[in-house]
C-alpha cells in the first residue's frame, strides 16, 4: 500500500470526530465572543449615559476597541480553543490504538505489508500534523469571523483598525493557543512532532511488552512532562527559556522517534 493510502485511511476514521471538534471550537469561540462584545457595548452605552453627553461625544473620549481589549480581558473564547486542542492531542492515542482494537485488528495487516514498518509511524505523524495545522487555521478563522462580527455589535467609530494583525502581535494569551510568528510556528511544529513521538513510545511499548511496557511508557511520558515543567519553572528570562525549550524538544524528539523506530521494527510482532 502506498503511503498516501495510509494517511487517507487514518483521516477517514477520524474525520467526523475532527469536524465535530472544529465545529465546537468555532461555535464556542464565537458564542463567548458575541456575549463579551455585547456586554462591552452595554458598558459603553451605560458609560455614555453616566457621562451626560451624547454617545457620539462619549465615544471620542474613550480608547478604540481592539480584539485584545475584548478577548484578553476575558479569555473564555481562548479557553474553548485550548480544550479543543487538548482533545486533538488525545486523537494521537486514538490514531494508534484504533488499529489494535475491534474485531478485525487491522494492525496485523499493516505490520505484514512489505516495505518499511516505519511508514506506519510517519503516516500517522503526517495526520497528527495536518490535524493541528488545520486547527491553527480554525483559530485564525475564528479571529477573522470575530473581527467581522464585532462591527455589528459595537458602534463603528470605536473599533480599531487591523484587528487580527494587532491581536496576533499584541495578545498576551494567543501564543498559548497558536504560534504567532514564523519562529514560533517552527517551534510548535517541532513540539508537535515531539508530542506524537512520545505518544508513540507509550503505545508501542505498551503493545510490545504489555504490563511492564505500559508502566515503562507511563514513566517515560510522565518524566518528559515533569522535566518540561521543571525547566519552565527555572528562573530563566524569555530569551533563555526559548533556547532551553528548543534543546529539550529536539532532544526528546530524537530519543522518542528513535525508540519508536526500534519498537516498531523489533518489538511489535504479529
Amino acid at each position: 500500500m502506498k503511503f498516501l493510502t495510509f494517511v487517507e485511511i487514518d483521516l477517514r476514521k477520524i474525520f467526523p470526530f475532527l469536524l465535530g471538534m472544529y465545529a465546537i471550537a468555532i461555535a464556542g469561540f464565537q458564542g463567548f465572543f458575541v456575549k463579551l462584545a455585547s456586554n462591552l457595548n452595554g458598558q459603553i452605552v451605560q458609560g455614555a449615559a453616566e457621562s451626560g453627553t451624547t454617545l457620539e461625544e462619549y465615544l471620542k473620549t474613550i480608547d478604540k476597541i481592539s480584539l485584545a481589549s475584548i478577548i484578553d480581558s476575558n479569555i473564555l473564547p481562548l479557553v474553548v480553543q485550548i480544550f479543543v486542542g487538548l482533545g486533538l492531542i488525545l486523537l494521537g492515542f486514538y490514531l494508534w490504538y484504533k488499529e489494535w482494537f475491534g474485531a478485525s485488528k487491522r494492525i496485523y495487516t499493516l505490520l505484514s505489508i512489505k516495505g518499511s514498518r516505519f511508514r506506519i509511524f510517519t503516516s500517522k505523524l503526517v495526520v497528527f500534523l495536518l490535524i493541528f495545522v488545520t486547527y491553527y487555521g480554525i483559530v485564525l478563522l475564528n479571529l477573522f469571523i470575530s473581527s467581522f462580527l464585532v462591527k455589528f455589535i459595537l458602534p463603528e467609530q470605536i473599533i480599531a483598525s487591523d484587528l487580527v494583525q494587532n491581536y496576533i502581535l499584541h495578545s498576551q494569551f494567543l501564543p498559548f493557543v497558536i504560534p504567532v510568528s514564523g519562529g514560533s510556528l517552527l517551534f510548535n511544529l517541532a513540539f508537535l512532532i515531539m508530542m506524537f513521538s512520545i505518544l508513540s513510545v507509550f503505545v508501542l511499548w505498551d503493545r510490545s511488552k504489555r504490563i511492564w511496557g505500559m508502566i515503562g511508557g507511563f514513566i517515560y511520558m510522565g518524566s518528559t512532562v515533569v522535566v518540561f515543567f521543571y525547566l519552565n519553572t527555572l528562573d530563566l528570562y524569555t530569551s533563555e527559556i526559548s533556547i532551553v525549550n528548543w534543546a529539550f524538544t529536539l532532544c526528546v524528539l530524537t530519543i522518542s522517534t528513535a525508540f519508536s523506530y526500534y519498537l516498531l521494527k523489533k518489538k511489535v510482532s504479529i
Partner: protein, 369 residues
C-alpha cells in the same frame, strides 16, 4: 482510492500556514507612533521640566523605549521581557537579578547592590532567607549570598524592603506583617557586613492603637528611614535614625481618616509627599506641617470608579503625578501638575493611550534642565 480528505486537509493547512505567515511576518501593521498629550486643563508649559518613559512592542521580540516630553517624542531601541515585566537594566545584568527581578537596590560609584527576601515566601516556599547580590562596577565581579533570617515564621509576610548605605555600612530593612490580626507590623533593620552576612540592629513594633495598622513604603533620606503608619484613628510618621538606633513618631496633620491606605509616599530635600484617598499632601520636613494650602485632588475623580497613583516627581515648587483612572473595561492615564504650596492645579492632561502598543506603564524620567 480517492484522496479527498488528504487534499482537503492539505489545502486548509497550506492556507492556514500561509495566512499565519502572511499576517504575522509579511503583511505586518506598523505600530502607531503617534504620541501626544491631550490638554484637559491649564497650560502645557507646566510640563517643561518633566519627561515620561514607556516601552512599546514594535514587532515580535522587538521593543522601543518612548521618551515623551510636552511637545516631542523620541524612540530608542531597548530590551524588554514581557513575561517577567523587566527591561534593559535587569536584562543586561541577568546573573545578578536572576530570581529577584523586583529586588530593592542601592547603587554608588563603586558597586550596585540588591537584596530581596525569598519571593516565594510564605506560600511557595517556607524558607525564610534573603538573597543579597553585590556587583563591583570596575571588575564586574558578582557576589551573591543567601542568608537565612531566624525568627520569621510562615504566618508572616514581607510588606516592604529597603536597601540603603550610611556611614560606609549598608542597611537592609524590612517590614513584616503577621497574618493573625492581633499582632501588628514589625520593622526589622539589619546591617550588611563586608562578607554579605547580616547583623540585626533594630526591631521596631509599628502597630498603632486600633484594629489594624497599614504601613506605607519605607523611604530613606540621608541617615534616616521614614515610614507612615496608618490606622482608622490616626496617622503617624515614624523616623528612624540609623546612627543612634533611635526612633520617634510624629503626628501628621489632619488627613483623610476614612481611608487608611497610603497610596504613595516619597521624600525629597525639603518635603514629604503622600497620597491618601486620591488626595495629595505636601508636608514640611522640619515642622511636619502641611505645606499645601488646598487639598490637591485631580478634577477627573468622578469620571472613574477607581484611581491609582502610578508615579510622582517634583521640580521647582511643582508636584507632578501620573494617575491611572479605571472605569468598567476602560482605563486612562493622566498627568497632573500641582503648585506645591498653593495646591492649585497648574495643568491636567491625558497621556496617549498605550492600547495595542505599550508593554509597560508610564513613569517619569530625568530631563537635563
Amino acid at each position: 482510492m480517492k484522496f479527498t480528505r488528504i487534499i482537503t486537509l492539505s489545502l486548509i493547512s497550506a492556507l492556514s500556514i500561509g495566512t499565519l505567515i502572511g499576517i504575522a511576518e509579511v503583511n505586518k501593521v506598523p505600530v502607531d507612533r503617534n504620541f501626544e498629550i491631550e490638554d484637559e486643563k491649564g497650560n502645557r508649559d507646566a510640563l517643561q521640566s518633566v519627561a515620561f518613559e514607556n516601552v512599546i512592542k514594535v514587532d515580535t521580540n522587538k521593543f522601543e523605549k518612548v521618551i515623551l516630553t510636552k511637545d516631542d517624542v523620541q524612540f530608542k531601541d531597548t530590551k524588554y521581557d514581557i513575561s517577567h515585566g523587566v527591561g534593559e537594566k535587569v536584562l543586561n545584568n541577568k546573573d545578578m537579578y536572576r530570581g529577584m527581578n523586583n529586588a530593592s537596590e542601592y547603587e554608588n560609584s563603586k558597586f550596585t547592590m540588591i537584596a530581596a527576601f525569598n519571593t516565594h515566601f510564605p506560600y511557595g516556599s517556607n524558607e525564610a532567607y534573603v538573597t543579597i547580590a553585590k556587583k563591583d562596577k570596575k571588575t564586574n565581579q558578582l557576589q551573591k549570598e543567601k542568608i537565612s533570617l531566624p525568627g520569621i515564621t510562615t504566618n508572616q509576610y514581607i510588606m516592604e524592603e529597603n536597601l540603603v548605605e550610611h556611614n560606609d555600612s549598608i542597611y537592609y530593612s524590612m517590614v513584616v506583617q503577621s497574618m493573625s490580626s492581633s499582632v501588628g507590623p514589625t520593622l526589622k533593620i539589619y546591617q550588611i557586613q563586608s562578607n554579605l552576612q547580616l547583623k540585626e540592629v533594630m526591631n521596631v513594633d509599628l502597630s498603632l492603637p486600633g484594629d489594624y495598622t497599614d504601613v506605607s513604603r519605607l523611604v530613606t533620606d540621608g541617615d534616616k528611614l521614614f515610614i507612615i503608619l496608618s490606622s482608622q484613628q490616626e496617622k503617624k510618621l515614624m523616623e528612624i535614625n540609623l546612627d543612634t538606633n533611635k526612633y520617634v513618631t510624629h503626628t501628621l496633620p489632619e488627613l483623610s481618616m476614612d481611608d487608611s491606605y497610603i497610596q504613595m509616599f516619597r521624600v525629597d530635600e525639603n518635603h514629604f509627599y503622600l497620597n491618601v484617598d486620591n488626595s495629595m499632601f505636601v508636608i514640611d520636613k522640619n515642622t511636619y506641617k502641611q505645606v499645601n494650602q488646598k487639598v490637591m485632588k485631580p478634577s477627573f475623580i468622578s469620571k472613574y470608579d477607581y484611581i491609582s497613583v502610578v508615579d510622582q516627581t517634583e521640580s521647582h515648587e511643582t508636584v507632578y503625578v501620573i494617575y491611572e483612572g479605571y472605569k468598567n473595561y476602560n482605563s486612562d492615564k493622566y498627568v497632573v501638575a500641582y503648585h506645591a504650596t498653593t495646591g492649585d492645579i497648574l495643568y491636567e492632561g491625558k497621556l496617549p493611550s498605550t492600547e495595542n502598543r505599550g508593554v509597560s506603564g508610564y513613569k517619569f524620567v530625568n530631563v537635563n534642565n
